[in-house]
């Protein structure tokens, strides 16, 4: 059987040098709560950074691949997206 099937297992394969503060910010948490039934970022984010926890969006920025999908894909442009500080964030070793 193939290994690394779940996103958690896949993320274990990646090296991260996480900063102490997040480079991703939900601008208005109320929009996620009241206007966005799909919470689509929790689906298309390739690292499962966004997790809906009953009334608020949890942002696990430490595992971010810095792809930019959430900034572009959020239907309410509700995500403020910056690069992590120089040297921090994801460190690809191969591909």
């Amino acid at each position: 059987m193939m290994k690394a099937q779940t996103i958690e297992e896949k993320q274990y394969l990646v090296r991260f040098n996480a900063d102490t503060k997040s480079h991703l910010h939900v601008l208005d948490p109320n929009i996620c709560l009241t206007k966005c039934p799909d919470k689509i970022c929790t689906i298309f984010c390739p690292a499962s950074v966004y997790k809906w926890e009953e009334v608020r969006m949890h942002v696990g920025y430490e595992g971010c691949h810095e792809c930019g999908s959430c900034r572009i894909g959020c239907p309410y442009e509700n995500i403020q997206w910056e690069y992590p500080r120089g040297g921090y964030g994801i460190v690809f070793r191969l591909g």
Partner: protein, 431 residues
């Protein structure tokens, strides 16, 4: 660090490094900024690097660069749930000089390329983010970095900051990309014994194979899967327009698992060990999405300028050539000490006259067409598979009967007309 350079290049990927290399070679004083721990730390690509455009910069680079395998065979699979129609070209001329293309692992290759630029005299500074362009009197005069006292000045700034292209957006050269202008690709590097790779892909040592996968790899949504051979690893991945993932509510890593476990793909990768998982956006807006690429004191190159030919999976070659053309323009601008937009706009003209502008123009409506009309991937690929199965299955029915069955499978007269019309339209956007 002196606070003024002739040129600052933001981003040490193929576009930025190519530009910096060419500038330094011509004696221009150039600073190359990279936000990663090392060049390549933030960069992802399926893995095909084209020889010609790289050799335009470093002749015979393949004698020393860290490459994986020269590609001698390119396969294309039109895949259904339990079947596939495969086309392939294999040519041994691709396995010897001058070669056509190679698989590479970007973290290794980008570091090597940047080192070559440093040998030419480029000052490479890693772990530094350019957070904005410094603009004075409508002219870009430098960049603000995230380092203390981090303002750095230059006659001209080259934005090679990749698909997200935040700096060009800040300058108003383009609006935010739409979800149908970017593809989200996920990929895994799988460790597998060299000999097993060569057996499974029918290769001699130091030969490589690429497989592009259409149809069920993306569950019918617009995109492709891919499987490439490296030295002792495989790169397997899948990319679809971000808009497609949103519309179909599909998790990209689950789509990757779908590809890996597909009965047409699984035998190739069985027994391999995943060693890295990567996600990245690919700019696929094409010709219509190319932003303004030249302004007063500034040029935009590579992914940041949407220079990707998604139909032929070409991107890093366009990046390198755009970097080289930007460098040519800057050298000319420097000789006349004129870094105005009207001078630097020669870069845009060079770009549009080159294969980059020509190819992007050729396919300017292709992605949008196939996105708007999902039936090509959803219906026609399975139809083609059924037709092949029908024709090649020997079951006592005559070939005429089989042809009639295939004809009936195309649907009502109305559906047949629609199919014919769709084929004409596809020809129009691809020709």
């Amino acid at each position: 660090m002196p606070e003024k350079f002739d040129c600052i290049v933001v981003g040490a990927g193929p576009a930025g490094t190519a530009c910096a290399y060419e500038l330094a070679k011509a004696g221009v004083n150039v600073l190359l900024l990279e936000r990663g721990e090392y060049p390549g730390a933030k960069n992802v690509m399926g893995g095909v690097l084209y020889r010609k455009m790289m050799e335009d910069i470093i002749p015979e680079f393949y004698k020393e660069a860290p490459l994986e395998r020269p590609i001698v065979e390119q396969r294309f699979m039109m895949m259904d749930k339990e079947s596939a129609i495969t086309f392939s070209y294999k040519g041994l001329e691709w396995g010897r000089e001058p070669y056509n293309n190679f698989t590479v692992l970007r973290a290794k290759f980008d570091q090597w390329f940047a080192e070559k630029a440093v040998e030419q005299g480029v000052l490479l500074v890693c772990e530094t983010v350019a957070v904005e362009c410094i603009v004075e009197n409508g002219h870009v005069v430098g960049v603000r970095t995230d380092r203390p006292d981090g303002d750095i000045y230059a006659d001209v700034v080259v934005l090679a900051d990749g698909v997200n292209s935040l700096l060009a957006k800040q300058l108003g050269f383009h609006r935010e990309w739409r979800p149908d202008e970017v593809a989200l690709a996920t990929m895994e590097i799988l460790k597998l014994d060299k000999n097993i790779i060569e057996d499974r892909f029918n290769l001699e040592p130091n030969q490589g194979c690429t497989i592009e996968i259409f149809g069920d790899a993306t569950k019918g949504i617009l995109g492709t899967g891919f499987l490439y051979t490296n030295k002792d690893t495989l790169s397997v991945g899948v990319g679809t327009l971000l808009s497609g993932l949103i519309k179909h509510k599909i998790k990209p890593y689950e789509l990757l698992e779908h590809v890996k476990n597909h009965p047409m793909i699984r035998p190739y990768i069985q027994g391999s060990e995943p060693v890295e998982y990567l996600a990245h956006l690919i700019p696929e807006g094409g010709y219509h999405s190319i932003p303004k690429v030249a302004g007063n004191g500034v040029l935009v190159v590579g992914d940041a300028a949407q220079l990707v030919n998604a139909i032929h999976r070409e991107g890093s070659n366009m990046a390198m050539t755009s970097g080289r053309l930007a460098a040519e323009t800057i050298i000319m601008a420097k000789s006349q000490n004129d870094f105005s937009e009207s001078m630097l706009d020669q870069y845009r003209m060079k770009l549009m006259e080159s294969f980059i502008g020509q190819d992007l123009k050729k396919y300017k409506d292709a992605t949008h067409h196939f996105e708007r009309f999902p039936q090509y991937f959803e219906q026609y690929i399975p139809m083609l598979n059924r037709a092949a199965s029908q024709m090649f299955t020997v079951d006592g029915a005559s070939k005429w009967e089989k042809q009639q069955k295939i004809w009936r499978d195309l649907g009502s007269t109305k559906q047949k007309f629609k199919l014919a019309r769709d084929m004409m339209k596809a020809w129009k956007v691809m020709k």
